[in-house]
Symmetry: C2
Subunit: 207 residues, 2 copies
């Protein structure tokens, strides 16, 4: 059972993370300042450094927090769950600052001297796990490599997001994710499952 002190520390950590997400999402890594972040969180610089060590430590925590903002919303399994993850992600990108900051930081990290594929690899492993469940249930066509497919979906979602952000400020991101599945599913889903998979914004659970 967590002590009152541990609960307080977890709340403080979360406050810093949320304030940092908002600032990074709005201004990008370079222009964000730690003093601006602690001011928004209503905390001290000490709290930020205690929990995250540095501005870069905060950025890493945000990049790697992405899956935890998606998975709790879902109950489906196998291939449908993989589809649902990408649909909920497209929906949450509209308004979840932790997710938006994580994606922005991961995409632009080269410009501030970082070179960390961890968030991409975490997504790939998570997706691959669901695809392996799908394979064992006979949902995946013979010849499709689940690791290759998981890696492709991670890369494709990253690039679609970037393009959608530049072209429409992400207004068409959900539509683009649906396009991806329209194009991929006939190649990867076994014929029996293809008709049963649902793709569309109605798959996103109400908040």
């Amino acid at each position: 059972m967590p002590t009152a002190k541990a609960e307080q520390a977890a709340r403080t950590r979360q406050k810093v993370l949320l304030a940092a997400a908002e600032v990074f999402d709005e201004t990008g890594y370079e222009k964000a300042s730690v003093s601006q972040i602690v001011q928004r969180a209503g905390l001290t610089l000490g709290a930020l450094y205690f929990h995250f060590g540095s501005k870069q430590g905060l950025a890493e925590a945000l990049m790697n927090a992405q899956p935890t903002t998606i998975e709790p919303h879902l109950t489906s399994t196998g291939l449908q769950r993989l589809v649902d993850i990408t649909l909920v992600w497209a929906d949450r990108m509209k308004r979840d600052p932790v997710l938006r900051a994580g994606v922005r930081l991961a995409t632009e990290q080269g410009s501030h001297g970082m070179n960390d594929a961890t968030s991409f690899e975490d997504w790939r492993k998570l997706m691959r796990g669901h695809l392996d469940v799908a394979r064992s249930s006979g949902e995946i066509r013979d010849g499709v490599d689940t690791d290759q497919l998981a890696r492709f979906v991670v890369g494709a979602c990253t690039g679609m997001q970037l393009y959608s952000h530049l072209a429409t400020r992400r207004a068409d991101l959900m539509e683009r994710v649906c396009d991806m599945w329209d194009l991929l599913l006939p190649s990867v889903a076994s014929p029996a499952v293809l008709q049963a998979i649902h793709v569309g914004p109605t798959r996103v659970p109400a908040r």
Copy 2:
């Protein structure tokens, strides 16, 4: 017929562009300085400002120069040409600084306050043109929207490049592009054409 003066101006422009590509590719937009660029080009600041107006003007020219570094290498048509464009792109990303800088600048532009989808839209239109040729030759399955497919390929290539760069410094980019076609072609190529399309590094013309 271009005058000697016009030829000289074109050569100067090209020198500035190449030097800028090398510097942007190595250091990113923020850290690159115009004085470093003109020093590498062996030219004056005046030449840079005359041809490109500003550092941002240079970045825009590089982002939008991408297709011109790929298309001259190709003679194929239709769906095979679309495949070939992506394979030559994966190969040239290893060593063409103009292409590398263009992709890096387009990807990281948010971090330096730019928001320009032009390079993405240019690629989409170019790819869509080849897909429309493929459609009129009966190479594309019924129900596949060529604009949707072109847009998806642009987004997917962008994201695969970013992931490959972070995970392997682009050592596996060619393999990732081949994965994409393995996954997409069964859905988009008409059955008669599917067996005839070649995917692999052997499609890249020798220099």
